[in-house]
């Protein structure tokens, strides 16, 4: 038993010496991801700037209340120019100096008076679906404002005549009753006229508004939302890459021959490697997480114990992937490529950029195979909501880890088996 411990720990002394000899390697493992996350945290905002817009106004000169003015369009859009030259606006859009063109139709009042909606045509030049979505949201919000303002002007223009109508209604009341108009209808009409007269036009034009109150303990920011998931991604990638290269390195150095002839058992080799890499990555993770908490003011509203437990499980699961890669990859290039594929899969399918619900179920299967998918959610829950995280996510990490270690054990056994 005691010999088994010495044999297993032989790997840790080896790694300790290697890391001690290359402090720059350790530094780059911590400082690299930290700097990337730090810059990401301080350099990003969640809101896109107001899109620069040229308004092509084909109804210049008209003074109708149905007229859409550039001022009506400036809440969500940045109107940089108003022109009647559509070709010029299109050239600017093609050159991507502006992001939107809004074409106001000529004589919108005639269209509206004919019982139709006046259509403002909007042109964009986007290849980024996220930016396109943002542009659509901005345009819709702006249209709501435009409609409200038109309505407001309409109501304002009605107030004078309605006031007169109210006076006439008062004086003509006996006559109206005499000709058979019910008193209740007369009262309702008076009430409506009074309401229009007394309530401000902007309230009448947009009588209902909404306010959003976030019940999470924190006001979400780019840093708080993305950095926990990014931590999961970085730790996973570190573990997968380091473990992925481990056995290949041992193979290249001929160390596997030593393992085959020394009294060390298969389980001891695997345990020794797991422990060595886990210690290294745990150290890196602790320093990285604490540095981010300190430098970016990253909150941890939940339990620190659960935070480190989940990180340990993530490392365990990711090492399983790494060792599996190192068993099946023939050389360092292939292993690095495979580690990169796992990183990309985690980035695009792990709920990092888009929520898991936005991924169609068959593809989501891949998401559920990736440790970062679970850890990203656990960390967000623990750090930002003060919760404990879904217990099934912890279990999933443990299961991935166990599957990885069993697969690595079988593959290593096959590799070291006498030929």
């Amino acid at each position: 038993m005691i010999k088994s411990i010495f044999r297993t720990l032989a790997f840790t002394s080896n790694w300790r010496a290697l890391v001690w000899r290359q402090p720059s390697m350790l530094l780059s493992m911590i400082a690299g991801p930290f700097l990337v996350l730090f810059l990401f945290g301080i350099g990003n905002t969640i809101y896109e700037p107001r899109p620069k817009t040229i308004v092509v106004n084909q109804s210049q000169g008209s003074q109708s209340e149905f007229q859409v003015t550039p001022e009506d369009l400036s809440n969500y859009l940045e109107v940089v120019e108003v022109t009647s030259d559509g070709d010029h606006a299109l050239a600017e859009l093609r050159a991507r100096r502006i992001r939107l063109i809004m074409v106001i139709p000529p004589n919108p009042e005639q269209i509206i008076q004919s019982g139709k909606r006046a259509i403002i045509r909007v042109f964009v030049n986007e290849i980024d679906p996220v930016s396109l979505a943002f542009a659509q949201i901005d345009v819709r919000a702006q249209m709501a404002v435009v409609n409200s303002k038109i309505g407001e002007r309409q109501i304002e223009s009605l107030k004078g005549p309605l006031g007169n109508l109210g006076g006439i209604l008062n004086r003509a009341q006996p006559l109206l009753v005499a000709v058979g108009m019910p008193q209740s209808d007369i009262n309702n009409a008076r009430q409506s006229i009074d309401t229009i007269e007394s309530v401000p036009s902007d309230v009448l034009a947009s009588p209902v508004d909404a306010t959003v109150e976030n019940i999470t303990p924190l006001e979400p920011t780019v840093i708080t939302y993305f950095v926990p998931a990014a931590i999961a991604l970085i730790i996973q990638h570190l573990a997968v890459t380091l473990a992925g290269l481990s056995m290949i390195r041992a193979r290249l150095l001929g160390t596997t021959r030593l393992w085959q002839t020394a009294p060390i058992r298969l389980g001891e080799i695997l345990a020794g490697n797991y422990i060595s890499y886990a210690i290294l990555i745990v150290v890196v993770s602790i320093v990285l997480v604490l540095a981010l908490i300190w430098a970016l003011g990253l909150p941890v509203l939940g339990s620190f114990t659960l935070l480190w437990t989940s990180i340990l499980l993530l490392i365990f699961a990711s090492l399983g992937y790494g060792f599996f890669i190192s068993m099946v990859a023939k050389n360092e290039q292939t292993a690095a490529q495979m580690a990169m594929i796992i990183l990309l899969a985690s980035l695009f399918l792990g709920g990092f950029l888009r929520s898991l619900e936005a991924i169609i179920p068959p593809v989501r299967v891949v998401s559920y195979l990736l440790p970062a998918t679970y850890e990203g959610q656990i960390l967000q829950e623990l750090m930002l909501r003060g919760g404990q995280g879904d217990v099934t996510h912890y279990l999933a990490l443990a299961v991935i880890g166990v599957v990885g270690i069993v697969a690595s054990f079988l593959l290593l056994g096959r590799e070291l088996k006498p030929s």
Binding site: T261, P263, P418
Partner: protein, 317 residues
Amino acid sequence: MSATETRSESQVVVVDHVTKEFNGHAALNDVSLAVSGGQIFGLIGPSGSGKTTLVLMMIGMQAPTQGEVRVFGIDPVRFNSGDRERLGYMPQESFLYPTLTAWENMTYVSGLFGISWMKRRKLIRKVLGDLELWDARNKLAGDLSGGMLRRLHLATVLIHNPDLAFIDEPMEGLDPLLRQGVWEILRQMRAHGQTVFMTTHNMEEAERCDNLALISNGRLIAAGAPQDLRKSVLGGQVIRLTAPRFDSKAYAALRSLPGVTEMDVKGRNEIILTVEKASETLPQAVETMNRMGIPITTAEEYEPPFDEVFARLVLND
């Protein structure tokens, strides 16, 4: 029973009609040999003759296609940890970490053999000292010279004091002085009852072994003590005589001496005689020549270089 006797088990290695094929090609063909404990056993043969394959089977890294290998009476493929603790193996290629120092590599290897941290320091110090590597203990393995690296590999074999050490080309890259030192260590191992099984293609080194097995093209050509092999090749012991001039009467007289099996006239002033026993025939030959008035200038027992012996064995096969 002493520790030395325990170690020197009779026949620590038995190879019985072993054939090893790779993709239908026989790397070893019906090889049989036995190695008793407490000796330095040399497996000699040219590069690619199958030496390393045979060693790999003895340490359990390869299984024979046919036949049977037994080390300490056990099939090496079925070695457990305890059996492996009794073995040491030094391959031709490096297996050490170039970015670790000599000391750290030794610590790593001794850890793999389950040596405790407390014992480790003392053992490493002794082995590195014996192999004149103590001053280089803090040097990276990657910065060591070829000879030093070879000695460091040998040190990793010696660290756990194995009963049986398989060493592939131990003298490769060593200068004559260091070879001497390594031979001294191997002899000490033998004196402690340990068995050294080494491969070499250097005939000079092979001659220093207690017993040899000669292998060529995957086949065992001969096995035995170096002297016995030489004798078997030459048909007996060899005497070399020189004189200012031998004549036909001298040739006839020498040829008719008792125990002479063959005579090789190298020229008018040199004769090589193959005899059954050199110690008996040599004085008789000198006396006969003196009686005939031929002054002998050189009379010695002649030992042809071992590579000549090896070459003859291969040719005779």
